[in-house]
Protein backbone atom coordinates (compact mmCIF):
# COMPACT_ATOMS: atom_id res chain seq x y z
CA UNK A 1 0.00 0.00 0.00
CA UNK A 2 2.92 2.31 0.68
CA UNK A 3 3.59 2.32 -3.06
CA UNK A 4 0.30 4.01 -3.82
CA UNK A 5 1.01 7.73 -4.15
CA UNK A 6 -2.61 8.88 -3.82
CA UNK A 7 -3.04 7.20 -0.51
CA UNK A 8 0.32 8.43 0.74
CA UNK A 9 -0.28 12.02 -0.17
CA UNK A 10 -3.85 11.98 1.08
CA UNK A 11 -2.72 10.52 4.38
CA UNK A 12 -0.03 13.14 4.77
CA UNK A 13 -2.53 15.87 4.08
CA UNK A 14 -5.20 14.44 6.35
CA UNK A 15 -2.97 13.54 9.26
CA UNK A 16 -2.70 16.96 10.86
CA UNK A 17 -6.37 17.98 10.34
CA UNK A 18 -7.56 14.75 11.92
CA UNK A 19 -5.51 15.45 15.01
CA UNK A 20 -6.65 19.04 15.00
CA UNK A 21 -10.25 17.95 14.78
CA UNK A 22 -9.60 15.57 17.62
CA UNK A 23 -8.27 18.39 19.73
CA UNK A 24 -11.29 20.50 18.83
CA UNK A 25 -13.65 17.78 19.97
CA UNK A 26 -11.52 17.34 23.05
CA UNK A 27 -11.55 20.91 24.24
CA UNK A 28 -14.98 21.82 22.99
CA UNK A 29 -16.35 19.08 25.18
CA UNK A 30 -16.85 21.59 27.97
CA UNK A 31 -19.56 23.46 26.12
CA UNK A 32 -20.99 21.15 23.52
CA UNK A 33 -21.05 17.56 22.39
CA UNK A 34 -17.61 16.05 22.59
CA UNK A 35 -15.12 15.04 25.18
CA UNK A 36 -12.26 12.71 25.87
CA UNK A 37 -13.75 9.47 24.59
CA UNK A 38 -14.65 10.76 21.16
CA UNK A 39 -11.55 12.86 20.81
CA UNK A 40 -9.33 10.01 21.84
CA UNK A 41 -10.72 7.77 19.17
CA UNK A 42 -10.36 10.48 16.53
CA UNK A 43 -6.75 11.18 17.41
CA UNK A 44 -5.98 7.49 17.47
CA UNK A 45 -7.50 7.11 14.01
CA UNK A 46 -4.86 9.45 12.62
CA UNK A 47 -2.02 7.28 13.87
CA UNK A 48 -3.77 4.12 12.84
CA UNK A 49 -4.31 5.51 9.36
CA UNK A 50 -0.64 6.36 9.14
CA UNK A 51 0.37 2.89 10.22
CA UNK A 52 -2.03 1.28 7.77
CA UNK A 53 -0.74 3.26 4.84
CA UNK A 54 2.97 3.35 5.58
CA UNK A 55 3.25 0.03 7.30
CA UNK A 56 3.60 -1.00 10.91
CA UNK A 57 7.33 -0.32 11.05
CA UNK A 58 6.92 3.28 10.06
CA UNK A 59 3.96 3.63 12.36
CA UNK A 60 5.99 2.40 15.28
CA UNK A 61 8.77 4.76 14.36
CA UNK A 62 6.32 7.62 14.50
CA UNK A 63 4.70 6.47 17.69
CA UNK A 64 6.86 3.94 19.55
CA UNK A 65 5.34 1.30 21.77
CA UNK A 66 6.95 2.49 24.97
CA UNK A 67 5.68 6.03 24.51
CA UNK A 68 2.30 4.55 23.78
CA UNK A 69 2.33 2.62 27.04
CA UNK A 70 3.65 5.60 28.95
CA UNK A 71 0.97 7.96 27.66
CA UNK A 72 -1.67 5.33 28.27
CA UNK A 73 -0.71 5.18 31.91
CA UNK A 74 -0.19 8.91 32.11
CA UNK A 75 -3.78 9.58 31.07
CA UNK A 76 -5.07 7.45 33.90
CA UNK A 77 -2.63 8.98 36.34
CA UNK A 78 -3.72 12.46 35.27
CA UNK A 79 -7.33 11.55 35.92
CA UNK A 80 -6.56 10.07 39.31
CA UNK A 81 -4.11 12.86 40.06
CA UNK A 82 -6.83 15.48 39.75
CA UNK A 83 -8.83 13.50 42.25
CA UNK A 84 -5.90 13.16 44.58
CA UNK A 85 -5.13 16.86 44.40
CA UNK A 86 -8.72 17.67 45.26
CA UNK A 87 -8.44 15.29 48.18
CA UNK A 88 -5.23 16.95 49.33
CA UNK A 89 -6.98 20.28 49.15
CA UNK A 90 -9.40 18.97 51.69
CA UNK A 91 -12.41 17.98 49.65
CA UNK A 92 -13.78 14.71 48.32
CA UNK A 93 -12.15 12.72 45.54
CA UNK A 94 -12.70 14.37 42.13
CA UNK A 95 -14.43 17.33 43.68
CA UNK A 96 -13.42 20.09 41.24
CA UNK A 97 -14.72 22.98 43.32
CA UNK A 98 -11.53 23.42 45.25
CA UNK A 99 -9.21 23.38 42.25
CA UNK A 100 -9.67 26.98 41.18
CA UNK A 101 -10.12 30.33 42.83
CA UNK A 102 -13.90 30.08 42.55
CA UNK A 103 -16.16 27.08 42.26
CA UNK A 104 -16.76 27.73 38.58
CA UNK A 105 -13.09 28.10 37.75
CA UNK A 106 -12.43 24.93 39.70
CA UNK A 107 -15.02 23.02 37.71
CA UNK A 108 -13.45 24.31 34.50
CA UNK A 109 -9.96 23.23 35.39
CA UNK A 110 -11.15 19.91 36.73
CA UNK A 111 -13.20 18.97 33.69
CA UNK A 112 -10.46 20.05 31.33
CA UNK A 113 -7.77 18.01 33.01
CA UNK A 114 -9.89 14.96 33.55
CA UNK A 115 -11.14 14.94 29.99
CA UNK A 116 -7.62 15.37 28.74
CA UNK A 117 -6.58 12.36 30.77
CA UNK A 118 -9.44 10.36 29.35
CA UNK A 119 -8.55 11.46 25.83
CA UNK A 120 -4.93 10.42 26.27
CA UNK A 121 -5.84 7.03 27.61
CA UNK A 122 -8.52 6.28 25.04
CA UNK A 123 -6.36 7.25 22.09
CA UNK A 124 -3.44 5.23 23.37
CA UNK A 125 -5.57 2.21 24.18
CA UNK A 126 -6.90 2.31 20.63
CA UNK A 127 -3.42 2.49 19.20
CA UNK A 128 -2.20 -0.23 21.55
CA UNK A 129 -5.06 -2.48 20.47
CA UNK A 130 -4.23 -1.85 16.84
CA UNK A 131 -0.56 -2.62 17.37
CA UNK A 132 -1.36 -5.72 19.34
CA UNK A 133 -3.68 -7.19 16.73
CA UNK A 134 -1.61 -6.26 13.71
CA UNK A 135 1.61 -7.26 15.35
CA UNK A 136 0.18 -10.52 16.64
CA UNK A 137 2.67 -13.03 15.23
CA UNK A 138 5.83 -11.23 16.14
CA UNK A 139 4.96 -10.30 19.70
CA UNK A 140 3.37 -12.44 22.31
CA UNK A 141 -0.06 -11.36 21.32
CA UNK A 142 -0.98 -10.09 24.74
CA UNK A 143 -3.23 -7.10 24.53
CA UNK A 144 -2.19 -4.67 27.22
Amino acid sequence: MDKNPILRIATKILFAPIILFGLYVQFHGDFGPGGGFQAGVIVASAFILYAIVFGLEKGKELFPLNINLFLLALGGILYGGVGIVSMLLGDEFLSYNVLGSSKQAGQHIGILLVEFGVGLTVSNVMIALFYAFVDFKSSNGETK
Binding site: F37, V122, F136, G141, T143
Partner: protein
Amino acid sequence: MISSTLGVWNYWIVFFLMMIGLFLVIGRKNLLKKIVGLTIFQTSVFLLYITFGKIQGGTPPILNNINETVYSNPLPHVLILTAIVVGVATTALGLSLVLRINSEYGSIEEEDISAEDLIDYHDLIETSKKISVKFKK
Protein backbone atom coordinates in the same frame (compact mmCIF):
# COMPACT_ATOMS: atom_id res chain seq x y z
CA MET B 1 -54.45 -4.12 22.72
CA ILE B 2 -52.56 -4.16 19.47
CA SER B 3 -51.49 -0.58 19.86
CA SER B 4 -50.31 -1.19 23.39
CA THR B 5 -48.31 -4.18 22.23
CA LEU B 6 -46.91 -2.73 19.05
CA GLY B 7 -46.68 0.76 20.45
CA VAL B 8 -43.64 -0.21 22.40
CA TRP B 9 -41.84 -1.24 19.20
CA ASN B 10 -38.50 0.00 20.50
CA TYR B 11 -38.66 -2.59 23.26
CA TRP B 12 -39.50 -5.22 20.68
CA ILE B 13 -36.34 -4.33 18.84
CA VAL B 14 -34.33 -4.41 22.04
CA PHE B 15 -35.51 -7.84 23.01
CA PHE B 16 -35.29 -9.15 19.47
CA LEU B 17 -31.64 -8.13 19.36
CA MET B 18 -31.09 -9.46 22.82
CA MET B 19 -32.41 -12.89 21.89
CA ILE B 20 -30.40 -12.95 18.66
CA GLY B 21 -27.26 -12.11 20.57
CA LEU B 22 -27.86 -14.63 23.31
CA PHE B 23 -28.70 -17.30 20.76
CA LEU B 24 -25.49 -16.67 18.89
CA VAL B 25 -23.45 -16.94 22.06
CA ILE B 26 -25.09 -20.16 23.11
CA GLY B 27 -25.79 -21.77 19.78
CA ARG B 28 -22.71 -21.09 17.66
CA LYS B 29 -19.69 -23.30 17.97
CA ASN B 30 -17.36 -20.80 16.35
CA LEU B 31 -15.54 -18.73 18.92
CA LEU B 32 -15.52 -15.64 16.73
CA LYS B 33 -19.25 -15.84 16.09
CA LYS B 34 -19.82 -16.09 19.80
CA ILE B 35 -18.07 -12.78 20.22
CA VAL B 36 -20.22 -11.28 17.49
CA GLY B 37 -23.23 -12.53 19.38
CA LEU B 38 -21.96 -11.10 22.60
CA THR B 39 -21.53 -7.71 20.98
CA ILE B 40 -25.08 -7.78 19.62
CA PHE B 41 -26.31 -8.80 23.04
CA GLN B 42 -24.55 -5.89 24.66
CA THR B 43 -25.74 -3.49 22.02
CA SER B 44 -29.32 -4.42 22.75
CA VAL B 45 -28.74 -3.34 26.33
CA PHE B 46 -27.38 -0.02 25.13
CA LEU B 47 -30.58 0.49 23.17
CA LEU B 48 -32.63 -0.45 26.20
CA TYR B 49 -31.02 2.30 28.25
CA ILE B 50 -31.26 4.87 25.48
CA THR B 51 -34.96 4.05 25.17
CA PHE B 52 -35.45 4.85 28.82
CA GLY B 53 -33.74 8.17 28.39
CA LYS B 54 -35.83 9.32 25.48
CA ILE B 55 -38.73 11.57 26.27
CA GLN B 56 -41.23 12.20 23.50
CA GLY B 57 -40.65 15.66 22.12
CA GLY B 58 -37.53 16.05 24.17
CA THR B 59 -34.46 17.84 22.86
CA PRO B 60 -30.84 17.01 23.52
CA PRO B 61 -29.99 18.07 27.04
CA ILE B 62 -28.06 21.18 26.11
CA LEU B 63 -29.10 24.34 27.82
CA ASN B 64 -30.90 26.79 25.53
CA ASN B 65 -32.79 29.96 26.19
CA ILE B 66 -36.23 28.80 25.12
CA ASN B 67 -38.53 28.37 28.06
CA GLU B 68 -40.40 25.15 28.80
CA THR B 69 -38.10 23.00 26.74
CA VAL B 70 -38.47 19.28 27.42
CA TYR B 71 -35.04 17.68 27.73
CA SER B 72 -34.30 14.02 27.26
CA ASN B 73 -32.72 12.32 30.25
CA PRO B 74 -28.95 12.52 29.73
CA LEU B 75 -27.99 10.07 32.45
CA PRO B 76 -28.64 6.87 30.44
CA HIS B 77 -26.45 8.21 27.66
CA VAL B 78 -23.59 8.76 30.04
CA LEU B 79 -24.05 5.32 31.48
CA ILE B 80 -24.08 3.81 28.05
CA LEU B 81 -20.94 5.65 27.11
CA THR B 82 -19.27 3.80 29.94
CA ALA B 83 -20.95 0.56 28.98
CA ILE B 84 -19.71 0.96 25.40
CA VAL B 85 -16.18 1.34 26.63
CA VAL B 86 -16.60 -1.77 28.73
CA GLY B 87 -18.02 -3.52 25.69
CA VAL B 88 -15.06 -2.49 23.55
CA ALA B 89 -12.68 -3.80 26.16
CA THR B 90 -14.55 -7.09 26.36
CA THR B 91 -14.56 -7.47 22.59
CA ALA B 92 -10.89 -6.59 22.31
CA LEU B 93 -9.91 -9.07 24.99
CA GLY B 94 -12.15 -11.72 23.44
CA LEU B 95 -10.70 -11.20 19.99
CA SER B 96 -7.16 -11.36 21.22
CA LEU B 97 -7.97 -14.59 23.02
CA VAL B 98 -9.47 -15.98 19.83
CA LEU B 99 -6.29 -15.04 17.97
CA ARG B 100 -4.15 -16.81 20.54
CA ILE B 101 -6.40 -19.85 20.52
CA ASN B 102 -6.23 -19.95 16.76
CA SER B 103 -2.46 -19.87 16.76
CA GLU B 104 -2.21 -22.54 19.48
CA TYR B 105 -4.93 -24.94 18.36
CA GLY B 106 -5.05 -24.11 14.68
CA SER B 107 -8.82 -23.77 14.82
CA ILE B 108 -11.48 -21.66 16.39
CA GLU B 109 -14.21 -24.29 16.21
CA GLU B 110 -15.29 -25.37 19.66
CA GLU B 111 -15.47 -29.03 18.67
CA ASP B 112 -11.87 -29.18 17.47
CA ILE B 113 -10.65 -27.47 20.57
CA SER B 114 -12.57 -29.60 23.02
CA ALA B 115 -11.49 -32.71 21.12
CA GLU B 116 -7.87 -31.72 21.58
CA ASP B 117 -8.43 -30.92 25.24
CA LEU B 118 -10.14 -34.24 25.71
CA ILE B 119 -7.11 -36.04 24.34
CA ASP B 120 -5.05 -34.16 26.84
CA TYR B 121 -7.39 -35.16 29.64
CA HIS B 122 -7.29 -38.81 28.60
CA ASP B 123 -3.52 -38.65 28.63
CA LEU B 124 -3.77 -37.48 32.19
CA ILE B 125 -5.96 -40.38 33.20
CA GLU B 126 -3.86 -42.92 31.29
CA THR B 127 -0.64 -41.82 32.91
CA SER B 128 -2.28 -41.87 36.28
CA LYS B 129 -3.41 -45.44 35.70
CA LYS B 130 0.08 -46.46 34.70
CA ILE B 131 1.55 -44.88 37.78
CA SER B 132 -0.96 -46.50 40.08
CA VAL B 133 -0.09 -49.88 38.57
CA LYS B 134 3.49 -49.15 39.46
CA PHE B 135 2.49 -48.57 43.05
CA LYS B 136 0.93 -51.95 43.40
CA LYS B 137 4.12 -53.63 42.32
